[in-house]
Symmetry: C3
Subunit: 359 residues, 3 copies
Amino acid sequence: NPASKKQQKVGLERWWVFVWEKGYQETDSVVSSVTTKAKGVAVTNTSKLGYRIWDVADYVIPAQEENSIFIMTNMIVTLNQTQSTCPEIPDKTTICHSDSNCSANSADTHSNGMIKTGKCVPFNETVKTCEVAAWCPVENDAVVPKPAFLKAAENFTLLVKNNIWYPKFNFSKRNILPNITTTYLKSCIYDARMDPFCPIFRLGKIVENAGHSFQDMAIEGGIMGIQVNWDCNLDRAASLCLPRYSFRRLDTRDLDHNVSPGYNFRFAKYFRDHTGNEQRTLIKAYGIRFDIIVFGKAGKFDIIPTMINIGSGLALLGVATVLCDVIVLYCMKKRYYYREKKYKYVEDYEQGLAGEMDQ
Amino acid sequence: NPASKKQQKVGLERWWVFVWEKGYQETDSVVSSVTTKAKGVAVTNTSKLGYRIWDVADYVIPAQEENSIFIMTNMIVTLNQTQSTCPEIPDKTTICHSDSNCSANSADTHSNGMIKTGKCVPFNETVKTCEVAAWCPVENDAVVPKPAFLKAAENFTLLVKNNIWYPKFNFSKRNILPNITTTYLKSCIYDARMDPFCPIFRLGKIVENAGHSFQDMAIEGGIMGIQVNWDCNLDRAASLCLPRYSFRRLDTRDLDHNVSPGYNFRFAKYFRDHTGNEQRTLIKAYGIRFDIIVFGKAGKFDIIPTMINIGSGLALLGVATVLCDVIVLYCMKKRYYYREKKYKYVEDYEQGLAGEMDQ
Amino acid sequence: NPASKKQQKVGLERWWVFVWEKGYQETDSVVSSVTTKAKGVAVTNTSKLGYRIWDVADYVIPAQEENSIFIMTNMIVTLNQTQSTCPEIPDKTTICHSDSNCSANSADTHSNGMIKTGKCVPFNETVKTCEVAAWCPVENDAVVPKPAFLKAAENFTLLVKNNIWYPKFNFSKRNILPNITTTYLKSCIYDARMDPFCPIFRLGKIVENAGHSFQDMAIEGGIMGIQVNWDCNLDRAASLCLPRYSFRRLDTRDLDHNVSPGYNFRFAKYFRDHTGNEQRTLIKAYGIRFDIIVFGKAGKFDIIPTMINIGSGLALLGVATVLCDVIVLYCMKKRYYYREKKYKYVEDYEQGLAGEMDQ
């Protein structure tokens, strides 16, 4: 009977799902906590800032976050800004010849922190630009340093500590596995093949594993996802519940439509000069934000879903009877003959029903 | 037969769910990364701080966060605090006439960063208050500025960059759509009707869309949710998978029980005076935190859930037979008559079973 | 019939699940927003820093976060660092006798922000160590202060404001319940038995409730989870939808394998000295990060899941028929006898099928 065979196939499909998707297990989603710690040092030597060492307190901004860490890789520094008036950076819209070229105080929702005074003042010996009230001198971010200012960040390392918890099963584990020693932890670097459980990552390798170039990414910044997968079958030994790491670039991937690429933000360090006036150093920080994304499901044998799934599976098999009947009684040529054999006509059915309704 | 009709209704209900809830599709939850960038400038002119320009580095605290951004809209500044002793701000509990009114060093778990010395000292020419060891002078936050100090924040803009990923289908997309040009991005402002895909939001409009007044909210602060919904049917073209934005105020909505309203926190900028002593400027910052909440489900045709759902649907139809039998054989008046017709009594059943058990 | 009884058991199991797991309800997951506010003051008196008061702006770093708050409890301060060269802290690898013991500029991925110059210089009158270019003097974090520097943090309080929303049911609520008055909020402290709905927590009690010692945890830091459970049955009154708090330590729980324990990070406060040179105070901050984890499910009666569940339940009962048939017709000794009674052999079946195929 072809209908029955089709039905059997549905039943098999169902059983396969049952085993494959672990239908006999109760599942739970992971609850996780993450801490990170970066290490590494960079040296720069520029006319503006001189010889300078950059350590963790300099390039991690802010100092701590919940599930992510930002490493500054490139920057545009504007030193010694004060509240005053100064000429804008020359470009198509700011160059002027007289005050009439400059409108005063125009509300520009896309402006970068400047109020136009309406005057035209010399920017340097040859060019005049509109004057603004702002933190002066104003930042010139037309050119991003290439290669990245802190290109040494490629060799920085990132220690990721991750504790997970499956509340339903009260099962918890950390990504620093029980057999990892302090000595190993001081020297190891994550490698997908050689050291898949070392929780220390070289920044360059993370970006490389995701199929991108660290030095390219360092220039304009970006977002990297460090994915930690904790899929566990808790019917087996706890020691087999292991984290699996993968890496993915989370920002723009559309090379054709690369509007507003990378990742940057501005922050300032505030000072007082010797007369007590406030000064600040404005930093436009480009860098890579590493988001640690923890996911996973744990399964464990449980009688309830097992019963439900066995029941549903059997129910599916039961459909065969109905399908056969339908085909035999409605679709086949000799259906009237089969119907005669199948049904017993009870003569007083209508009468009986009517009698029941009366009461 | 009424039982059968009821059954058919259940079956229809099931099919409707199947189509409506896309029972033939495998679904996946969104994985997302968010970056934000605020723009805008405010001018203030007060006797305390003088004429002052406020830009992004001044009013975004901290400079970067993972899924949210805080814009300061109001503030209470306490300049030039040093570690020393000073009189408390006068109120019911702090005004004193002699040292006997002031208890020393009492442990107050709700205190605001002050240790009582037990002395009664003049606050000004007419009032005496208890002395405290603290960062002095102490902050006076009894009166919150009205209107908000940075009320111009209403016109600030917020660029939200959001990349999403559906891991099961390896489908990713960003909220800056492929057809958006740099020119458009430099001039557009989100509008639910006119520009529903522009990722740049005017702060005032966000709050307004959620049914609140920006200037009211700016005074004591609050939390706004920017919800990005990425529900996608991946059986259709990828270009139809589009973000939908909605806005909701996430903090207090209970006007009657408005205990501890708004959102504020304190931070300090640390300085050294010319003698090398540490000073700080304490800022109690009121403002609006914008939490970007990304959610959504994607569905795509898959044979497994389709088979399961078809199977379950058919199983439901099969129940009709059982229900009819139950009604006919147990509920109707003439049930004994029907039972006689239905069952064939096999005489040696008990014997047969017993025989089987013996073996 | 034993098969039928087994079947009934499955059916009962199913109904129990239906009622127990509220199969007649549609469910929704919680959407939440959290703000926190710490209060409290600590006094320290050391030769290095003198008599000093610590308030919120000093010990909460960064000033605000989305779902967590970090309270500094211990610290290693390195005052007045400048960019220069200085001898390293003496240990096994850094003590030297001549320049030949020191390699220059070696790339050490686990280094802590120092570039080796290759010289051997006196650290003090008796010991010589390798020279480094770094922020000098370099930090000495070999010994962590015991007891914790800000041990008074045990008495700090934390106000947690939490608004939740169930989007499907448009139901929202906050953890500051409607009947909580401002007076109560100013004096209450959470206690699992006496004040289970007071949203103000004493830090010491949080850690204690999780079964740990605050003073131990304060030394090296750690992560505490404040779990807020909002399981609600929305078929009942909204006033019965209440938050339940629980506390859990989220970091290391494996006393045997306590590699890299606790939680700390480094940050710096930048200054200018009177000659305009940049200085910084480096702080290695140990402390407790409180992650507020909000979870929960709401259920409300809905016709669709009810129909589906009733349907499935009935379908399971229908399986009894099939099972009985299977046992009677295939497993019993006298199966041939029953088969004869069950099936009607229709003589020309093969013929009929063949005829149909022909057409």
